[in-house]
């Protein structure tokens, strides 16, 4: 693994007596694409602004290459930022926006020219040099913002929800684009988003945050497959979360039945949260099932059906291509690899029950815009 570039030590941030960050410890490796993921108000933007130098933490330290940079102002940090609403300078054209940092650094004109043209090529905006900022589309403005930051060849690029203002299709294109640029330039990206899909598809490392604390750090696959608590399990993808008891290693009991699982290392008879991903569940005939329930709602999603099944009053979400009509009695089988066990946490019992599920659920979470200071 490449070397460590930035380290956050016990970061605490308070605004007007309110604790925004509650002891953040985190390190960033060189060339890494790391995403801070969490709902609005979780402290991810605050963390980013502290790294950028726009906020000074109440306590704790920021180390860059091993040196404390708490007191280094933003203009002396080898870090550049892509701001949420781009923050392009409206009185300058595309060329002058991108050349801004180089001119401030008093680079020779020829070099400025060369580097601006080079970076325009990287972001695919050749020929746009003399366009006015307000004549560009959102996606183009986004590219200018990225170019303006990257042209300074920073060691770290901070991106604060850079795709939030774009429509869905453009967002997908830009996700690929960003990943490509990051690999081509070989620099560290620290990316902030509340969009879990964005985080999973682009990042080397995902840091899930909530309430000013880090909930889990890991590779996207690990975060998805091995969530540490009910918050992570629910925030990353969909999860059915049930109360269970760990009888012994590889043996868990829930819904009055004992299931085999792949988890070990819990106390005997420890109460646990059991996560079952909706896409891991297969229907079988009722008489063959471990559990038998009744279908209460079906939503067609294109790729699959979202089917809500009532098991003894507890409603599960099941995602399957296998259509079942409302009212049908269905059985399910759970294989050991479909079951994931988590320790109980402060989030236990708050997530993972689809009793109030409705088809608008996705839209609602999609609309929950992210405004934080």
């Amino acid at each position: 693994m490449s070397k460590e570039l930035i380290r956050l030590q016990d970061l605490v941030m308070e605004f007007n007596g309110e604790r925004i960050l509650d002891g953040i410890n985190l390190y960033f490796n060189d060339h890494e694409f790391l995403t801070l993921l969490g709902p609005s108000g979780c402290g991810k933007t605050t963390t980013l602004r502290i790294i950028g130098g726009f906020l000074t933490p109440t306590s704790g330290r920021v180390l860059f290459d091993g040196k404390c940079i708490n007191d280094v102002p933003p203009y002396e940090r080898q870090i550049n930022t892509v701001f949420q609403r781009y923050a392009l300078f409206p009185h300058l054209d595309v060329y002058d926006n991108i050349a801004f940092g180089l001119k401030v650094a008093k680079l020779p004109k020829a070099e400025v020219h060369e580097r601006v043209h080079q970076i325009l090529e990287v972001v695919g905006l050749q020929g746009f040099e003399h366009r006015k900022i307000d004549s560009l589309s959102g996606g183009q403005q986004q590219r200018v913002a990225i170019a303006r930051a990257l042209v300074n060849r920073p060691k770290v690029l901070l991106l604060d929800e850079p795709l939030a203002a774009l429509d869905l299709r453009l967002r997908k294109d830009m996700q690929n684009e960003l990943k490509r640029i990051q690999q081509a330039m070989g620099i560290t990206f620290i990316y902030v988003t509340h969009d879990q899909e964005e985080a999973l598809s682009m990042s080397d490392t995902v840091v899930v945050m909530d309430k000013g604390r880090i909930q889990q750090i890991g590779k996207p696959e690990d975060i998805y497959n091995e969530p540490k608590n009910a918050f992570v399990a629910d925030f990353i993808g969909e999860s059915n979360i049930l109360d269970g008891v760990m009888l012994a290693d590889y043996k868990v009991k829930f819904f009055g039945r004992t299931f085999k699982c792949l988890d070990a290392g819990f106390e005997p008879n420890e109460p646990v949260d059991v996560v079952i991903r909706p896409e891991d569940i297969d229907f079988v005939a009722p008489e063959e099932g471990h559990l038998v329930g009744t279908v209460t709602a079906v939503t067609f999603k294109g790729l699959n059906y979202d089917i809500i099944v009532d098991f003894k009053g507890f409603k599960w979400l099941i995602q399957t291509t296998d259509f079942q009509p409302v009212g049908a009695s269905v059985g399910i089988r759970l294989n050991p690899e479909d079951i994931h066990i988590m320790h109980k946490s402060e989030y236990s019992g708050m997530f993972g029950d689809y009793s109030s599920y409705s088809a608008e659920y996705d839209e609602l979470t999609e609309d929950a815009g992210d405004e934080e200071e």
């Binding site: 949420q84 609403r85 923050a87 401030v104 650094a105 307000d134 560009l136 300074n152």
Partner: protein
């Protein structure tokens, strides 16, 4: 109803502009009696440019207006940036404090400034003539400042705060980011503040009357002295020119506003 509206609007314009029209017509009159138009002439305009003392007075007025509005614009802009950086409660307090002098009657401002200058000048500095060009300049800067702040503040409020952060992110010190980013962004407000301050300065009589010394007299103050005698027609000509100057400045101000609104609409489209 629509017709009545139109008539009233027309009447208002007549009331507003009739005095100016009379003055302009009088400035082209051959005779001295304004009740009788005896023929068209540019004679009075020529007289203005021949009258050394009148030109000196006009020069004085321009000097004081340019200096006062320039200095007030610089100070006022910096002050506005400072006020914008305060927390909301302090900002409101400071803004009401800056607005009070504007609503204060000029005569009160004039006399209180005069008292202050005489007190400081004679008591603390031991001057014999405390009222000079400098007291006049200070007085003009003082009453210009609120107008500049009032014009700059809305532009600062509109400005995306992350622009300054972006500038610092790209290597600007706070001072550099002010000149490279903030100032160009708020320029329309700064310009309209400067123009407004200039016109306030140019036509100020009441305050100037109380704070100016004998060494430096501005046009409005001297014209007040003229009115004690019979008014010469060349004064009409000069007033007409001043009116046109102000008119041109106002048009420029409005054009600036218009261009900016257009730019903003363009931005919304993008």
């Amino acid at each position: 109803m629509k017709k009545a509206n139109r008539i009233i609007t027309l009447l208002i314009f007549v009331f507003l502009y009739a005095p100016m029209a009379v003055l302009i017509i009088a400035s082209f009159n051959v005779g001295k009696d304004i009740t009788q138009f005896e023929g068209f002439t540019f004679q009075q305009y020529a007289e203005v440019f021949r009258d050394r003392s009148l030109l000196t007075l006009l020069g004085n007025s321009l000097i004081i207006s340019v200096l006062a509005s320039g200095i007030a614009t610089a100070f006022g802009t910096v002050a506005a940036v400072g006020i914008q950086g305060l927390n909301p409660r302090m900002r409101r307090t400071v803004m009401s404090l800056t607005n009070i002098p504007m609503t204060n009657p000029d005569i009160v401002t004039g006399i209180s400034l005069s008292l202050l200058f005489v007190f400081v000048g004679s008591k603390l500095l031991g001057q014999r003539d405390s009222l000079t060009f400098w007291t006049l300049l200070i007085a003009h800067i003082t009453f210009n400042l609120p107008y500049v702040i009032l014009n700059v503040m809305p532009k600062l409020k509109q400005m995306d705060r992350s622009l300054v952060e972006a500038a610092m992110d790209l290597g600007c010190t706070p001072l550099q980011s002010f000149f490279k980013v903030t100032l160009p962004e708020i320029m329309p407000g700064v310009l309209s503040g400067a123009i407004m301050a200039f016109t306030m300065s140019l036509d100020d009589f009441v305050i100037s009357y109380f704070v100016t010394g004998l060494d430096f007299i501005t046009l409005p103050v001297e014209i007040y002295n003229y009115t004690k005698k019979q008014l010469q027609p060349k004064i009409y000509a000069m007033f007409t020119m001043l009116f046109l100057l102000i008119l041109v400045l106002m048009v420029i101000m409005n054009l600036l506003q218009l261009r900016q609104d257009k730019a903003k609409n363009g931005h919304r489209r993008g």
